[in-house]
């Protein structure tokens, strides 16, 4: 029986992206169309009009994608090379020697290779520069959450500034003591609360309400003052715009990590007010300060599925492929940490807990596979169909998958950004469940300060610990406020 053909309306292209399912032949216009149709369902791809229109069409795309040779990705661009500096970065920095071990494989065979004992921490690290973001996205689309976790858990990406992140068996946290008006005392109170609950080894980072250089300088000075007085082996960050950070560095402000939100195309990055040249300038400025004690990974990036579409910079590609391309940007700047803000963007991109969970595991997998020190902001907004139970599931899967860090806020409620991230308690609970430990330098500080015991468990009455950090920390709140 000759198969019936369902086509996108194009003439079937020379390099065919097609598969036959139950006697029906499905043809996909190009690699971009194939990747989009193969994406597990999410609202943002429907919003963009690129999603599969039925479960069978999605399966047909996944089947065709599994049979696609990885080499095809080297000759087919999702966003044109001439138009987009992110594509140029990806293509020009591709390491053919690193790619060689998997060069003859299809996407489906890459999945098997990754799951097999051939893929170890060292072979995966060696492979990373040979994989493009599009390859990582492609293989993730034919992987279950369990597959994503199994492979991510084998990846080892270690970075350093004042402590060491990404070591096996470890889990770090970004302490995020935001305040709606950037009030110094308000930030300090939430910061101390988080330290007492053992948070902050990845970074102590503030999302500022305003973006003035003066506020940026005041915030990093406040954070650095607390860090230095308590002698905490961690790094601080004000998540203002990268150009604000550069201006603050020029004024001599104590800047540890320079932050920027990034996305997977030149146009989407322009929406964030950055280009690769601006990021390079920030990278050079941050590293020139040499403030790290055990390393100099000085950049911090945030990403998130849907960012490119919301900036109309998605070029007709699906949101997960565009997200993976953002990691292609990140890895060019040797960041200390990168995280997806997965559930922050809202239900028009990720509708419910199921979609947020899948996206969180995909983002972590693609980041790690590409050699990025990947964390996740396990989070949701009140207009998404999600709740704390969904976050419990996502956190547990991510920690089993070896996530580098997660973000924690007081009581899971960020009063500045108006969304729910994890509570400090959530991470205490997952440590109890899985035995994951904090970064070694921070763990030692917590013990030395009398806040935790030898096992890393918080002590019940640290107030009684002689010479502890607690008294110093609380005394900070009693001091008259310094003017910026």
């Amino acid at each position: 029986m000759a198969p019936q053909t369902v086509c996108c309306g194009c003439d079937e292209p020379a390099m065919s992206h097609a598969s036959t399912v139950d006697g029906t032949r499905w043809v996909f216009a190009d690699l971009k169309d194939l990747l989009a149709k193969a994406s597990p369902e999410r609202s943002g791809d429907h919003l963009a009009g690129v999603a599969a229109r039925s479960a069978i069409e999605r399966f047909a795309a996944q089947q065709a994608l599994a049979d696609l040779p990885l080499r095809a990705f080297l000759s087919s661009e999702i966003v044109p090379y001439e138009d987009d500096e992110v594509t140029r970065l990806i293509v020009d920095s591709h390491d053919a020697a690193a790619f060689a071990p998997v060069a003859s494989l299809t996407v489906g065979e890459l999945r098997e290779w990754l799951l097999s004992s051939l893929a170890t921490a060292s072979t995966l690290a060696a492979l990373a520069p040979g994989l493009t973001p599009e390859m990582a996205a492609a293989v993730s689309k034919i992987m279950r959450l369990q597959d994503l976790a199994v492979v991510s858990a084998k990846c080892e990406v270690v970075t350093r500034f004042r402590d060491t992140l990404g070591l096996p068996g470890r889990l770090a946290t970004r302490l995020q003591p935001n305040h709606p008006t950037d009030d110094s005392r308000g930030i300090a109170a939430a910061l101390i609360d988080g330290l007492l609950l053992g948070a902050g080894d990845a970074v102590i980072g503030i999302n500022p309400a305003g973006d003035s250089v003066a506020d940026y300088v005041r915030i990093v000075t406040l954070l650095d003052d607390i860090r230095a007085r308590l002698e905490i082996p961690t790094q601080t960050c004000c998540l203002g715009h990268v150009t604000t950070a550069i201006a603050a560095i020029e004024r001599g402000a104590p800047v540890d990590l320079v932050f920027q939100s990034i996305a997977g195309s030149q146009k989407a990055n322009a929406g964030f007010g950055v280009s690769l040249a601006v990021l390079r300038e920030a990278f050079d400025a941050a590293r020139s300060l040499r403030r790290g004690s055990v390393g100099n990974n000085a950049m911090y990036f945030e990403t998130g599925q849907g960012a490119a579409l919301s900036a109309e910079g998605h070029h007709g590609a699906d949101q997960q492929t565009m997200e993976a391309r953002a990691y292609g940007v990140a890895r060019a700047f040797a960041p200390l940490i990168v995280n997806s803000v997965v559930g922050f963007i809202g239900p028009e991109y990720l509708y419910n807990g199921k979609q947020i969970q899948r996206a969180g595991l995909e983002d972590h997998f693609c980041g790690k596979l590409l050699g990025v020190p990947m964390g996740v902001d396990v989070c949701y907004t009140n207009h998404a169909e999600a709740d704390q139970d969904d976050m419990d599931g996502l956190l547990t899967m991510l920690v089993v998958a070896g996530v580098t860090f997660v973000i924690t806020v007081p009581g899971a409620d960020d009063i500045m950004l108006n969304y729910q991230s994890l509570s400090h308690h959530d991470v205490l609970a997952i440590r109890e469940l899985t035995g994951r430990r904090r970064a070694p330098e921070f763990e030692e500080w917590l013990r030395r300060s009398g806040l935790s015991d030898q096992t890393g468990a918080l002590v019940e009455s640290p107030a009684h610990a002689a010479g502890g950090a607690l008294a110093k920390a609380v005394a900070l709140l009693a001091e008259p406020e310094k003017s910026a």
Binding site: L47, P180, D413, H425
Partner: protein
């Protein structure tokens, strides 16, 4: 009836009291809860964040956990409750405010949440409804009330803002037509409404995305010369309008000032800063 289970003694009985009486050594906190090492008042005086919560093992104490569930339930209901526009129409009508009701192209809440583009477009027959209600001669400004993401914001705060705003607009010589109520509307739905009515300025009151601390915040967006495709940088925003935030009367004062300035100077958004003079102290 003989198989009926024995009735337990009333809670006030001596036997029951003995059974449920706490052990004599119980302190104010349940013994399983570890208090925060720094007392709540020492941290809470500086921030509204959920600090010094204590813990039960690694996890949240039950009262804290329930408090979070309460706040989230309120926020969820704010998103998913439909605004009773008929009742709002009656209330506004009783104060002499004329209204017209239209819908966006989002057919229900689920589609509204998934497809923000449809929430910015008017349903097919809306323009006819509007021009019919507007009658002859166009007003300079139009007030739009869109449900947005919080029904509570609209039901609790919109009438107070409108009633305070109308006389101030009249004083400033800003004419307004009927207040347009929009079901399943986003901010930009004000653009086609203003075009249909020939208004130079759109004043959109909309339910903001609810947070855990407040589920009834109303936002206001002013756009001079609104038309489809207007970028957000051309809109002025006044946020957090609610009791406990920016009071409706104060919000109305700011809106009236911005409206008059926008029409006088022919700008809105980044080109128009909110420099409304501070409120006069009464008495």
């Amino acid at each position: 009836m003989s198989s009926r289970p024995p009735v337990p003694p009333p809670l006030s009985s001596p036997e029951a009291a003995a059974a449920i009486a706490p052990p004599a050594r119980a302190a104010a906190l349940p013994a399983a809860v570890i208090a925060s090492p720094v007392s709540r008042d020492r941290l809470e005086r500086w921030t509204a964040a959920r600090v010094a919560l204590g813990r039960a093992g690694s996890s949240l104490p039950t009262s804290v956990h329930l408090g979070f569930l309460h706040d989230h339930a309120r926020a969820r209901d704010a998103v998913w409750t439909a605004v009773d526009f008929d009742e709002l129409t009656r209330r506004l009508g009783a104060s002499g405010v004329v209204t017209a009701k239209v819908r966006s192209q989002a057919s229900d809440r689920g589609e509204y949440l998934r497809r923000p583009d449809l929430g910015r477009l008017l349903e097919a027959d809306a323009e006819a409804t509007l021009s019919h209600r507007a009658g002859s001669g166009s007003a300079r400004a139009v007030i739009v009330v869109a449900d947005g993401l919080s029904a509570q914001a609209i039901q609790i705060n919109s009438q107070a803002v409108i009633e305070a705003l109308l006389p101030q607009l009249a004083n400033a010589g800003v004419t307004v037509g009927p207040v347009v109520l929009v079901e399943q509307g986003r901010v930009a739905v004000g653009d086609p409404i203003a075009v249909a009515l020939g208004a130079e300025l759109a004043i959109v009151l909309i339910g903001e995305r609810p947070g855990l601390s407040a589920a009834d915040s109303l936002g206001c967006y002013l756009t001079w010369s609104p038309r489809p495709g207007t970028p957000d940088s051309r809109r002025n925003c006044i946020s957090n309008i609610r009791a406990g935030g920016l009071a409706p009367a104060e919000a109305a004062r700011k809106i009236a000032w911005l409206a008059a300035q926008a029409l006088r100077r022919g700008v809105s958004g980044l080109a128009l800063k909110d420099e409304a003079p501070p409120a006069q102290v009464e008495g």
